[in-house]
């Protein structure tokens, strides 16, 4: 079927292909599915054939003010929903902190291993008692 034949049948029988002559229906449907021009013709006929009665909303387009107000409201919504990411500056110090902590632990271990034992006979609480005495805490009660 050619596009001209399709157009003639459309003009003669309307867009309801079920009401076209039986021998033409299959070819007409195939052409409509494959040919954009045929489809446009058919859709235009469909719009003319059954024009939906006006429902009073044709002129009901939003005015320029409504459009502008709507766009402004959209931008407000966008800004309201954009919650700023939590500030976490301490995260940037994490690597440096890890290095410092490792060095501190390593230094303490080295000091512990390399320092010779002070007085083997000294009681275990002697150093604490000395520390408390020096600090004025009064740690005599610790030494029984």
């Amino acid at each position: 079927m050619t596009i001209e034949e399709f157009a003639q049948l459309l003009a003669a029988h309307g867009p309801d292909i079920d009401h076209w002559p039986p021998g033409t229906r299959r070819a007409a449907r195939r052409l409509r599915a494959q040919d954009a021009d045929a489809r446009d013709l058919w859709e235009a006929a469909l719009r003319r054939w059954a024009p939906l009665a006006g429902d009073g909303l044709e002129e009901d387009a939003p005015g320029a003010v409504r459009v502008q107000t709507g766009i402004d409201a959209s931008l407000r919504r966008i800004r309201q929903r954009q919650v700023p990411a939590p500030s976490t500056p301490w995260l940037s110090w994490r690597p440096a902190g890890a290095v410092f902590a490792t060095m501190a632990v390593a230094g303490w271990l080295a000091g512990t291993w390399l320092t010779p034992p002070a007085e083997a006979a000294a009681p275990a609480t002697a150093s604490l008692s000395t520390l408390f005495t020096l600090a004025g805490v009064g740690g005599d009660w610790l030494v029984q």
């Binding site: 309801d16 059954a50 009665a53 429902d55 939003p62 459009v67 409201a73 959209s74 919504r77």
Partner: protein, 204 residues
């Protein structure tokens, strides 16, 4: 592609620099609010009209059209140029948002209930015309959501079948079939409402 589709009846925009929709979306993805405003100037009216037709409420149409622009902002980074028309995507988002509202609706909107004729017009024919319009609107509102959307996209938004079927997530053949069923349902609803049907029923 400039976004100026004849079936969208898009509004002429002031401040529109003529950039195509894909270029605008790229700018929106970079956080350019002026680009978003341009998208709004081009497409807001069309999405508002579709929402108004489907929801029959101006307030809800405002809400949906604004939400569509928010979606544009949020999804701009994922927009693939040339893959689809922006207007088709916007209609799809609008349709889905409306569908969600229609499914969640329990009562008719108050706004529709308060939509009474302006007594100052006075003329009998004005009242009759409004009554006729009301019948068509009521008949349209009584249809299932998909049928209503098929009619609105084709007859009111004047959208070609391929785009309308994409919006509804159907293939073209299924869309035409839906459109025919919707027309038949609308004819029956209008007949019940006392209005003469406008055409013959049948399948395409």
């Amino acid at each position: 592609m400039t976004g100026q589709q004849p079936w969208g009846r898009l509004s002429a925009a002031h401040g529109d620099d003529g950039a195509d929709d894909d270029a605008l979306m790229a700018r929106v993805a970079q956080g350019d609010e002026r680009a978003l405003r341009q998208v709004g100037q081009r497409h807001y009216a069309a999405t508002w009209r579709l929402a108004k037709r489907l929801l029959t409420s101006e307030a809800e149409a405002d809400d949906v059209a604004q939400e569509v622009l928010v979606r544009v902002w949020n999804h701009a980074a994922r927009w693939t140029p040339g893959r689809a028309q922006l207007s088709t995507w916007l209609y799809t988002v609008t349709y889905r948002l409306c569908l969600d509202r229609l499914r969640g609706r329990r009562h008719a909107p108050l706004e529709a209930a308060m939509d009474v004729a302006d007594p100052s017009e006075g003329a009998a024919e004005t009242m009759e015309r409004r009554s006729e319009q009301r019948r068509v609107r009521d008949a349209l509102a009584s249809l299932p959501e998909k049928q209503r959307a098929a009619l609105v996209l084709f007859y009111y938004q004047e959208m070609p079948g391929p785009q309308a079927s994409a919006v509804l997530g159907l293939n073209l053949r299924a869309y035409w079939s839906l459109l025919y069923r919707a027309r038949g349902a609308l004819e029956r609803a209008l007949t019940r409402g006392g209005k003469e049907p406008f055409g013959r029923k049948g399948e395409p």
